[in-house]
Symmetry: C2
């Protein structure tokens, strides 16, 4: 069993109130892969340029990530993003985006990537997501992420692509924008009518919620003293979430599995934001992940006790 | 044992995507009292004008709320607020505020109000909150709410007032603004240095978190198909939270009590937003509250299961 992810592989330049990095490894596929690799073999599909070197490959390989489908475009440069966060890290401004090799990206999947059990379509153009989806005929669970750009300029294609996956992961504001519904409960119902059985609303610093036909589960984000860099947190969440599902190949992806998948995604995302880029997750240990999931369970549960209320 | 609340008593004019009301009963003390009344006797302290009639008193009295300290100012008009909400109810604009009798409000507490076991200082001028606090010498648990206006124009007085209470309840954005700290973990630590042992960060549609020296507890909001009118939800939450504490007079207000208090506050607030103003909570039954707390427990809990992670 294995996991395939298609998405961006990037160099990011980030400034936050806690410091800055001029050029660090990033991209949705990278953040996803480093989290999902705790659970299963991960195949990364995405393009890089000449500037993507051994040091970058090594970060992925050290975690056992399969980099065979990272496509090196000779003469090209790797996707580059520069952004800046506000004082409480809840606002972010894109200063610069260079698509570079990403501009003409056509996903090419090896046999190993095509045979994956679990597939994550990171935030790329929805037509490309659909092509990758079509190639992975053996995937038993497929999830998709997207963003406001595609809702703005390619909504019909995005909805068609959503129709072919099991799970939509989206920021809650984008979920409302996409469905034109004011609450995530109504938005999720609309999405389920398009096809997916599972909808995950990512809520940034507030956590995430998963909605299925059977029920709802809400989980706050892990509380942190300091958030250094939120870049990639959503993809890291997705990596933990999908990785957990990949690690449970027997039986259906029921609400119990989804809830625990949310917990692992949330735990991994909380490490991701503690330092810049992939710095923290790259040296994370299994014990640290397990401890944080336990802690998350403790800080989100309460025990009911009957009480007589006045009429 | 009983609960005293000081705060606004108002007529609200509200427009949301789901309809409008030209003049409905509202105000922080009213929303608080109707929720807290499920747990204990509530004394409401606040001013009203000639336009506040039997129908309005009756809404409170039907719940057993003590209205003896509602001060009728002859010739005056009741506080009036007009606001409008955006399509997903996450933005709101104040169109009109008439302070009316609230402009010269000097809280006068009867013996019954002064003897309360639990005191809630709703969002009014911090000097007035401090005066009320000083009068309630027997209160074993005192909480305070405030808003950005007082942080902007009376921060020093607000911090002094906060120093005299056990618990600060504030929107998370205001908590950051007040403390100038970027995360609620750091903000809560700063607040605890000023005096309160307990900090509650209200997060609107995302739920709430409580932070003490002993720990953290986060609880998502109850998911609703439709949110009709968020007005008063925060005060209704406070009413459920403080009411639950009032109903447990023996022993200290420990983290277990606080967690369950959060659940009752969250449940009550979720009913509050289902209809305009106090319409839903005014006819709410104890069984409905209990059922929603149970449901909240179900939709926020997950069961840990050990899993072997890859190194």
């Amino acid at each position: 069993m294995s996991v395939t992810v298609v998405g961006s592989i990037a160099f990011d330049a980030v400034r936050t109130p806690f410091g800055s990095r001029d050029r660090m490894l990033g991209g949705s596929a990278v953040h996803f892969a480093l989290a999902a690799a705790f659970f299963d073999t991960v195949h990364v599909v995405g393009p890089v340029g000449d500037d993507f070197g051994d040091a970058e490959y090594e970060v992925l390989r050290a975690r056992g990530v399969d980099t065979a489908d990272i496509e090196h475009v000779p003469g090209g440069r790797t996707f580059f993003w520069r952004g800046e966060y506000g004082w409480d890290l809840n606002t972010r401004e894109t200063i610069e985006t260079e698509l570079n090799v990403f501009a003409h990206f056509q996903p090419k999947l090896s046999e190993a990537s095509r045979c994956a059990d679990v597939l994550f379509l990171g935030n790329i153009q929805p037509d490309l997501q659909r092509e990758v989806r079509a190639q992975c005929t053996q995937a038993r669970f497929v999830a998709l992420d997207s963003m406001n750009l595609w809702i703005d300029i390619a909504r019909d294609s995005l909805i068609e692509t959503i129709g072919g996956v099991d799970c939509l992961l989206l920021n809650d504001a984008e979920l409302r924008q996409l469905t034109r519904e004011p609450t995530i409960v109504r938005a999720a119902r609309q999405v389920r009518e398009w096809g997916p059985r599972v909808v995950v609303a990512k809520q940034g610093e507030y956590g995430a919620a998963v909605l299925t036909g059977e029920g709802f589960f809400g989980l706050p984000a892990f509380p942190l003293e300091t958030v250094v860099d939120p870049t990639g947190a959503g993809d890291c969440f997705a990596g933990g979430f999908m990785g957990y599902i990949a690690a449970h190949p027997d039986g259906e992806v029921d609400d119990d599995i989804l809830r625990r998948a949310m917990a692992y995604g949330t735990a991994l995302a909380s490490f991701n934001v503690e330092e810049f880029g992939v710095e923290r997750v790259a040296r994370l240990t299994p014990d640290e992940v397990a401890d944080r999931v336990s802690e998350l369970q403790r800080i989100t549960s309460f025990i009911e006790k009957p009480i007589a209320l006045r009429d």
